[in-house]
């Protein structure tokens, strides 16, 4: 029996016994270490007669592979067993609660403003803003509502001085004035923001939100106004069809003026917009009065167009089924949490306005 065969047989039988990791490593080192039995045989190759060298080398490699594979297999087996044993101990109750998290929310009015802006953005309106504190001129006089005009009674105004020169704006219409004084026509803007009237009950809050719309260009007529609002209301309520009614009304700053109603019905206690035989007033609008254009140095013989004002809070209430206007500003945690929107739910045109 050759040396090689002897080494092989001896170690194969050794490896068949029960060995731990240390013993296996010892065997590995005994065979393949610097002076290991197999390693030494490799060193001998050069001294062997040429006629037998090839066979010797071949036999040696076969034995080396056989022993190495067996050792690796054994080591693997033990490591696997060790991990399995560890896993057995490491089992945890995954039904225990996760680390706590808090969710912030966006107020429904803010969300609605973003929805509105997104819709009007598509048809070329840009967003303008104005201050909450206004002077009497921008809020009334420039808007063709002179002092001592009964139309002023329609607005219960908060004043900041006894002379009634400074006030909290009663509508977003003064932004029209500011925009037109600042730039040159054409104008195509919306102006969302806070508005104030000294009125407070279930359906009135001393502060509420409006969005003003203004489109002034050459040849803009009431048909464009109707088209714009029809588009807006359909998009906003995310319905294919809308029933809309223009009804003559009066605002000092527009002429002809209209109030706009939308059709609705109550089904199973829920309001359905766009169907039914009930009418709901949602906004006021009209063609900008020539006197207003003159006041802002726009020539009414060359330019004309429309303006509208919509109650944002009311739109939000209708769309999201909110009953009480006062609750918008009451900051009740439960209300905010329920009616608020996830901050990642940014209304966009490609994704859709709401989920």
């Amino acid at each position: 029996m050759s040396d090689l065969k002897k080494i092989r047989d001896e170690f194969i039988s050794k490896l068949k016994g029960k060995l731990d990791l240390a013993e296996l490593n010892q065997i590995k080192s005994d065979l393949f270490g610097k002076n290991g039995l197999v390693s030494s045989q490799f060193k001998k190759i050069g001294t062997i007669d040429v006629s037998e060298r090839k066979k010797f080398a071949s036999d040696l490699n076969i034995i080396k592979d056989e022993l190495q594979d067996l050792i690796n297999f054994k080591i693997n087996e033990i490591e696997k067993a060790n991990i399995n044993e560890k896993l057995e101990k490491e089992k945890i109750d995954v039904t225990l609660p996760e680390r706590s998290f808090v969710r912030g929310k966006i107020h429904p009015v803010s969300q609605t403003i973003d929805e509105i802006s997104s819709i009007f953005s598509e048809i070329g309106f840009s967003v303008e803003e104005g201050p909450d504190v206004e002077n009497e001129y921008n809020n009334f006089t420039a808007l063709n509502t002179p002092d001592n005009h009964p139309a002023r009674d329609m607005h219960d105004t908060f004043y900041l001085d006894d002379k009634k020169e400074r006030l909290l704006r009663t509508h977003t219409s003064p932004v029209q004035i500011r925009t037109m004084l600042k730039d040159k026509p054409p104008f195509k803007i919306i102006a969302p923001g806070r508005t104030y009237r000294s009125d407070s009950d279930q359906t009135h809050s001393p502060m509420f939100h409006q969005v003003e719309g203004l489109h002034i260009d050459k040849n803009i007529n009431m048909g464009h106004l109707k088209g714009c609002l029809n588009y807006f209301i359909k998009e906003f309520f995310e319905v294919k069809k809308i029933k809309m009614r223009f009804r003559p009304s009066h605002f000092p700053f527009t002429e002809p003026s209209a109030e706009v109603d939308i059709g609705y019905e109550i089904k199973d206690g829920k309001i359905i917009i766009g169907e039914g035989n009930q009418w709901l007033e949602i906004l006021g609008c009209g063609m900008v009065h020539p006197n207003v254009l003159k006041n802002v140095k726009v020539d009414p013989t060359k330019f004309q167009g429309y303006a509208f004002g919509i109650g944002i809070d009311r739109l939000a209430m209708l769309k999201y089924g909110i009953n009480d206007l006062r609750a918008f500003f009451d900051c009740d945690y439960r209300w905010l949490n329920h009616f608020g929107f996830d901050p990642l739910d940014v209304p966009t045109n490609y994704r859709g306005l709401s989920r």
Partner: protein
């Protein structure tokens, strides 16, 4: 404006139904506010007489009345009205009746132990007037009607219209009929007035003083002698009751009727109580008179008064006085029909805080040519009902009405409204509305009806034509999806970004009112001006907020009271620095209360602290595109923050404008507000102070530089005086070689054993990496030493060995 279809039919010939009427009214801009069905229910309200009153045995203020309602037995009714007294004729509602004001069905009820069968009604409960103090008092004339229904059997519903302020002509039934007729809803009936003979002269002298600011330009009058003022005939009473008015006496009822029918306010004086003659003049300062509402008014200088030798009789066009009021025994009356200037009326009424039906009409503009018509109509009715001789009509004027005309370009209509109607149709509509048309080559020359003060230019005519033709004819022109200007400005985008960035960190967005409670505001006002609202809704909402904290703390406290312990809320909105337009800033203000990881099985719970708020602010600013490596932070904060536990953030070392504050709310404020929580942390980010980056993301993304050379991490621990801030050490280290040193992190702070009392140990980790080569040990050693040297020299620190 309340009308009935029946009354309309006095002026309108039509076969159409009420349903069509309601639609048409709304379609032409006379909005139907409500329709009250006059059902058989109101027949239950009976004229009744109190026979006896006794004090309620168990209540001082209540009386038990025996009431005659025309039946054999008297009804026992418990009543709390002070004027409920024996002999009073009033209105009784039996159990089962529905009270018009409250819509509550009456039931037999025990009131403090005494059973009350029905109720005696006030005028307000019956929607007859706003009078709610005491039960309705009917005149003796009603005695014969006891047990009869108070309301007549009208089949016509009460239609309440919301008339816009530009349409005074529609404050009369006739005006409404005219509009309806023009729109094709029936035909206007041209009423033939009964001609009466006017023989005698009007002998009472009337004079309008020509003075500056004279509010009366014409004063028409006639004398009616030897009348017998009486109760109105049933038709007149029914008419007034049908629109919710309470009949008083024939003369008063007739003037009211004429006012409601053709919007011509009149006033009847007891001529015998007028001293010599009428003078219409400006009031003198301090003059007083008792008005028909039984209040004494002290006048300012320059109000338009009707007076006689003895003094003020009434405020022209607003309210008459008691001194010359007509009564049942009035024999001779002077009937007034005048024109008062709307501005003058409004000024006076506002100053005296007076609101009357006449004022409402005059301030909107009464038809100046209706003076005579009105007088004749009323005088003829008075003569018919009360008898007497009517004098000739006397009209004093200081100004004549001039008819107004405008040229109307027929093409302008389509240009504004977007649809076309024929010129013939235009002419028909305008004629029906009362315009007189003369055709010119290019224009229609229109004479404006005297009852339309709202019409003065071409656009007004366009509106009339559009309104009467119907808005449903307006075509819908679909909008074009085209955008030439970006929707939001950079600042607006930043606003939206900050809003959603803060919300994404667990804050609930709130919107609170821009005004607040002065006492809360004072905590956060600092040296800012207090901005008072002259007419606040309540004293608790009397000032514009100088900070959002005032409202947030108030509402946080309410939520904590509701039992929520750990809560973060924020608002983005205006705070005010002055009372002029533009003196406002946009602030993102957040407030957190309570603990982190409360009741957690896995994490250790702790109070929320300023570093939570600091993280939220810094993270938000970083997300918004500001480089936090450049931020500079110090501890100078407004006095509503805890002086030792708050800081302010600048975007860079130039310390130009404060980007944000963060920190604990001052314990004094928490104490005073008595808010119950473990800790209260707030922050404020000032939108206008955030410089907008000039670099777009396109530019920024284009540069991408990283180094793949080996990097090494080094730790240092410095012992330094307590007043030296960590930021200073970081700044010194980063300045040693900004190209090589990055990722400077404070990973430990230690005070106590082995460290002197006034000192602390700060451990800092840094990364050293070159973008050009792998640094050798020698290079690293050099940087190490430079760092230690720089920190020791500049901050007085010592490296811990």
């Amino acid at each position: 404006m309340k009308i009935t279809f029946d009354w309309l039919k006095d002026h309108l010939k039509t076969n159409l139904k009420e349903k069509n009427l309601l639609e048409q009214l709304t379609n032409i801009g006379l909005e139907v506010e409500s329709v009250e069905s006059v059902s058989s229910d109101n027949q239950l309200f009976k004229i009744a007489k109190i026979i006896k009153t006794e004090k309620h045995p168990n209540a001082d203020r209540l009386k038990v009345c025996d009431v005659n309602i025309g039946e054999k037995e008297l009804k026992k009714v418990v009543c709390g009205a002070a004027n409920a007294s024996e002999g009073l004729i009033t209105i009784y509602a039996p159990p089962g009746a529905i009270i018009p004001k409250t819509n509550i069905k009456l039931e037999t009820a025990k009131i403090r132990g005494v059973t009350s069968y029905g109720m005696l009604c006030s005028e307000s409960e019956l929607n007859l007037s706003d009078k709610s103090d005491g039960i309705t008092e009917l005149s003796k004339k009603y005695e014969k009607n006891i047990g009869k229904s108070y309301f007549s059997k009208s089949k016509s519903n009460l239609i309440d219209l919301s008339i816009t302020p530009n349409r005074p002509d529609c404050l009369g039934v006739k005006g409404i009929a005219r509009d309806l007729a023009a729109s094709g809803f029936g035909k206007l009936i041209v009423s033939k007035e009964r001609q009466i003979k006017l023989k005698t002269k009007q002998t009472l002298k009337v004079k309008i003083n020509k003075e500056k600011g004279q509010g009366c330009s014409a004063f028409g009058s006639c004398l009616i002698k030897n009348v017998k003022n009486t109760e109105s005939p049933q038709w007149l009473k029914d008419k007034l009751i049908s629109v919710g008015q309470k009949p008083i006496s024939a003369i008063v009822d007739i003037t009211n009727y004429v006012m409601l029918d053709i919007n011509r306010p009149l006033h009847a004086y007891d001529a015998d109580k007028i001293e010599k003659g009428i003078i219409v003049r400006n009031s003198k300062s301090g003059e007083e008179f008792t008005a028909l509402d039984n209040k004494i008014y002290k006048l300012e200088k320059g109000m338009c008064v009707i007076s006689d030798n003895k003094g003020v009789l009434g405020l022209g066009g607003i309210i008459g006085g008691t001194r010359s009021a007509t009564e049942f025994d009035t024999k001779n009356i002077l009937l007034e029909s005048a024109y008062f200037n709307p501005r003058s009326i409004r000024n006076t009424a506002k100053k005296l805080n007076l609101d009357t039906d006449a004022k409402f009409r005059f301030e909107r503009g009464i038809d100046p040519l209706s003076i005579e018509t009105g007088l004749k109509k009323a005088a003829s009715l008075i003569q018919e009902i009360c008898g007497g001789e009517v004098s000739k009509i006397d009209i004093q004027k200081i100004e004549s009405y001039k008819t107004k005309t405008i040229n109307f370009d027929v093409n302008s209509f389509e240009n504004i409204v977007g649809f076309r109607i024929s010129e013939n149709e235009m002419q028909r509509i305008l004629t029906d509305l009362g315009f007189i048309i003369k055709k010119d080559k290019k224009f229609l020359k229109l004479t404006i009806p005297s009852w339309r003060p709202d019409i003065s230019q071409q656009i007004d005519i366009i509106e009339e034509l559009a309104r009467i033709s119907g808005y449903e004819k307006i075509k819908t022109i679909d909008p074009i999806k085209d955008r030439s200007k970006s929707t939001l400005t950079q600042t607006q985008r930043l606003f939206h970004f900050l809003q959603r960035a803060i919300a994404s960190k667990g804050y609930l967005e709130t919107i609170t009112w821009s005004f607040t409670d002065q006492s809360y505001n004072d905590h956060f006002r600092e040296n800012n001006k207090e901005i008072k609202i002259v007419n606040p809704i309540s004293s608790g909402l009397g000032v514009l907020r100088n900070s959002i904290f005032s409202n947030l703390i108030m509402y946080m406290s309410k939520n904590l009271d509701r039992g929520f312990k750990d809560l973060s809320i924020f608002e983005i909105g205006p705070v005010f620095t002055g009372s002029s337009p533009g003196e406002q800033k946009t602030v993102v203000c957040g407030l957190s209360a309570g603990k982190k990881s409360r009741l957690s099985w896995i994490d250790k719970e702790r109070n929320i602290d300023l570093f939570d708020a600091k993280r939220d602010v810094i993270q938000t600013l970083s997300e918004a595109g500001y480089d936090s490596d450049h931020f500079f932070i110090d501890s100078k904060t407004p006095n509503y923050y805890h002086p030792g536990k708050s800081g302010r953030i600048f975007l860079d070392h130039s310390k130009d404008k404060v980007a944000a504050y963060f920190g604990e709310i001052h314990p004094n404020i928490i104490n005073k507000i008595d808010i119950k929580t473990e800790n209260l942390i707030g922050f404020e980010i000032f939108l206008e102070n955030l410089k907008l980056s000039r670099k777009t993301l396109k530019d920024q993304k284009a540069k991408f530089v990283v180094s793949d050379f080996q990097k090494s991490e080094r730790d240092f621990a410095f012992v330094v005086n307590k007043d030296v801030e960590a930021q200073e050490l970081i700044s010194v280290i980063s300045n040693v070689n900004p190209n090589l040193i990055s990722n400077i992190k404070v990973f430990d702070l230690y005070e106590g054993q082995n460290i002197p009392d006034n000192q602390k140990s700060i451990a800092i980790s840094i990364t050293i990496q070159s973008s050009e080569k792998t640094l050798k040990d020698k290079d690293l050693e050099k940087i190490n030493n430079s760092i230690i040297e720089a920190v020791e020299n500049k901050t007085g620190a010592k490296i811990r060995s």
